[in-house]
Subunit: 233 residues, 2 copies
DNA sequence: TGCCTTATTATGTATAGACATAAAATCCAT
DNA sequence: ATGGATTTTATGTCTATACATAATAAGGCA
């Protein structure tokens, strides 16, 4: 006799997802409860629960106590982009990573920066301009501002060898951040640095980083022409 | 006597995360095992397990059987963007959504599309050009291609009232997709449609959608100037 | 009819115990 | 030493049971 191998929560996810895609259970309708499914699959309710919990997380179903589980009519798809360490991103393509500091300046924060970071007028900041190369090609221009009240050790760093991101991550590896993707037409400065013609459309990524509610740093990254981000969902 | 309220897996997540951010456990080091933590918190191993599983999912720790759980030196941050239904995205801003079909044409697929969608040469496709308005302002231009072998019912749709995305989602609400964010300089056609000057940098989103491994549709969305996506991580 | 209280119920979480599994650590024979 | 087989161990998963909780449904009263 062959023994039926025990069903896993992954199997259940797969089966249920198939039924959803099948329209076995129509979009918008209530699907069977956990106990019913557990009986059908011959497993414990906890196993079904885990499968359903993950399907809800993936945006396929809505769950509510007492009301039951409902197939979403319009599944909420979430594109997840892993924000890579730039060195890794470049080395993954087989290219050699190189970093260069272009400028380093202590100064008062400009108004737009104070608004972005919500820091008071007298906050001392360090402004860095950096370039990241893939082989000999400019891959990304980094416009970096560091709040020196929040990260006073940055004063003693010359940032000649190590990029500010790598340095900051060593100081505070775990922090909160808000990132914004957008696009701009390259101005003369950026065009020159990234070796493109003025006006070229470039992907930009802005990031504000906090550590325990104190704004530490603001960055604007300008990617090389043709940069794109892909995600499966 | 006050009874200590039972600890939840969420409490554990919080406590452990605090210790990680604290450097109580150094980045790169091994942290205590599940049994040890369960003892410390006075709860079952399963409870600790769930907390740790989610922290791993969130990119803070790495877990390996036998080897134990290690604090990541470089946490992998994932930016999650919810891909909204355009009608919802526009109506959420308080504006009125309006859709307009610009052109509809049956034709053979151009070479670049066949490459993108991996469909054979003789596949009949429907090419649609659509505009999505927020109030009277052009919000997004949609360049849509539908594989008529995969979605034959599209032949009978005039797409005058309902946009192709809404229609397709009703046909197959749950499908797989690959999306790519990028940027382009507006050409004369797009500039005209979105009412910007030629060369303006625009955010674009390309999406290929499959249903049970059959490529259904390819879209390229051109957003209005100044469009940006923000995510917290 | 309408409002408030109470019961019901599906999901949410916790637990102790068990077995599975991947991978490191050890041991052994060559 | 070196390669291969074996043991050990931390995480991965499943089960049966229990209680918690949110939200709907039902009941009762004015």
């Amino acid at each position: 006799m062959t023994v039926a191998p025990k069903i896993s929560y992954l199997d259940i996810k797969e089966i249920v997802l198939k039924r959803i895609k099948n329209f076995t259970w129509a979009p918008g309708s209530i699907m069977p409860g956990e106990i019913e499914l557990a009986t059908e699959f011959g497993c414990a309710r906890a196993t079904v629960n885990r499968a359903m919990r993950e399907l809800a997380e993936d945006g396929y179903i809505d769950r509510k106590r007492k009301a039951g589980t409902r197939i979403k009519s319009f599944p909420t798809r979430k594109a997840k982009f892993v924000i890579p360490i730039i060195r890794d991103e470049i080395e993954l393509t087989g290219a050699t990573y190189r970093y260069a500091l272009i400028n380093r300046e202590f100064r008062d924060p400009p108004d737009w920066l104070r608004t972005q970071m919500t820091i008071p007028q007298n906050t001392p900041v360090l402004h860095l301009m950096c370039l990241h190369y893939a082989d000999s090609k400019a891959f990304q221009y980094e416009d970096r501002w560091i709040n020196l009240n929040a990260a006073p050790k940055a004063v003693d760093q010359d940032f000649e060898e190590m990029g500010p991101n790598e340095w900051l991550i060593k100081q505070v590896p775990f922090s909160d951040a808000e990132i914004t993707f957008s696009t701009i037409n390259a101005d003369t400065q950026v065009a020159d640095l990234l070796n493109v013609t003025v006006g070229t459309a470039l992907v930009t990524l802005e990031r504000i980083t906090w550590f325990t509610n104190a704004p530490i740093t603001y960055t604007k990254l300008y990617f090389h022409a043709g940069y794109q981000m892909t995600s499966r969902l």
